[in-house]
Amino acid sequence: MGKIFSVALGILTAIGGFLDIGDLVTNAVVGSRFGLALAWVVVVGVIGICLYANMAGKVAAVSGRATFEIIRERLGPRVAAANLSASFFINLMTLTAEIGGVALALQLATDVGRMMWIPVAAFAVWVVVWRVKFSIMENVTGLLGLFLIVFAISVFALHPNWGDLVHQATAPVISEKESAATYWYFAIALFGAAMTPYEVFFFSSGAVEEHWTKKDLGTSRLNVMVGFPLGGVLSIAIASCAAIVLLPGQIEVTSLSQITMPVVIAGGKLLLAFVIVGIVAATFGAALETALSAGYILAQFLGWPWGKFRRPAEAARFHVVMFVAIVAGAAVLYTGIDPIMVTEYSVVFSAIALPLTYLPILIVANDSEYMGEETNGRVTNMLSSVYLVIILAASLAAIPLMIVTGGGQ
């Protein structure tokens, strides 16, 4: 009974934990501009993150080594440092976007400006990182994040033309107002939102935090294989809501109020209240994960003691790095920069950085010295190679497309 409960809990938190500000914003923007013509990218991204998170979790559980320890060992200090700088910067950008997302959601709920909420959100993130146990942190934010299911309910409540939606998704057409370049630019953004690298840092470090062993592999695989695809379904629901309401009305997504507009039309204030709880939980959860990831990757690269399972006094540098990262994120937001814009760029940069972590994990997952009997099988390697090509293509195409489209304008 306890086993079933823990599996169910794991799956539910994986669903809630899959979505963050990047998924919310990108799916809504894409839905409002392209309808469901990019829904296939979510499917590709979800399969990718399942494969990738599973591999990182397996490496961590079997060898006890988290991602960045391995990257340094395999690539040497010089290349690993370049990799770390890029990963750290993009992670910081995502952390900034998530803290901004929490502030925007609280602004939507209270009408108090986001500048007032930024320090509150940043302080709350720090307190949880400092004091709250890892499993409680994961379960609470994951379960409350499930309120985002309101987006799926809204799709039904809006009584869409189902045939039309299915047609948009299965026979994608680029509308006359959009160019092929913007279509592919947003395809990369959506791919980056589904496969953000911090999820992998966090997943592999979390496996060490929770002292996973080979025995836990089955449970973790199930969490990922069921939870992430259901999270992907919610992503498509967000895009569908935008496609039903925002696309015909030619409404541009510039803030959270447009993202939640379909929910308000479908269910009024009650559903809006639920969706705001969901957005706060999802972005707050992701802010915690990115703040921790900042500490994890630097500590792992430099061989410091790290982890929430230690007393902060036993991992002093780790805690100082996280504190500085949170303050830096809040400081960037205080320049008055639009969190939605930070999010839009952070998902594209995530796509650019994907090969940096994907390749070393793939190499180590094939190293029998680390993995023993759990070394990648032939099927996994075939799929992984296909994804390596997709990831490299997305990474290389991202910057040229960003320049050509002026950031998707």
Binding site: R65, E73, P77, R78, A81, F134, F309, R311, H319, Y370
Partner: protein, 131 residues
């Protein structure tokens, strides 16, 4: 490139670059104690022909310290920045290098100690595990 001479040996062949350099060091309680930055070898003359029959140099210790900058940008750090951990203290070489119990405090941790004693200890909750 000629093949290296194959010398019969007992035990396991370890590639210093692949299996020792940049490996995580764990102390006897399993806590991270730094990263292997270099190796200490027995004396041998550099840049001269080695007469045949000379004994091969041996690894006498692991070196660890705050030298990540020179590891990345090149150059040799002052020897004082590196602390030697005698090979006798190595308990096992695997995906991590485990050390035997020792009284030696690892110098690599002075920043950690400074931050702990000056900052982290003074913030409420800093000395207790998360709940």
């Amino acid at each position: 490139m000629t093949d290296l001479p194959s010398i019969p040996h007992r035990g396991r062949l370890v590639d210093a670059r692949l299996h020792l350099l940049d490996r995580q060091l764990l102390d006897d309680e399993g806590d991270p104690a730094g990263i292997v930055d270099d190796l200490e070898l027995t004396d041998f003359v550099v840049d001269e022909d080695i007469p045949s029959g000379t004994e091969a140099p041996r690894v006498t210790g692991l070196l660890a310290g705050q030298v990540v900058a020179t590891r990345i940008f090149g150059g040799a750090p002052p020897r004082s920045r590196l602390q030697e951990i005698s090979w006798n203290l190595v308990a096992s070489v695997g995906t991590v290098i485990k050390l035997k119990p020792t009284d030696m405090t690892l110098d690599a941790g002075w920043v950690e100690r400074w931050l702990r004693d000056r900052i982290i200890k003074h913030i409420p909750g800093g000395q207790h595990a998360a709940e």
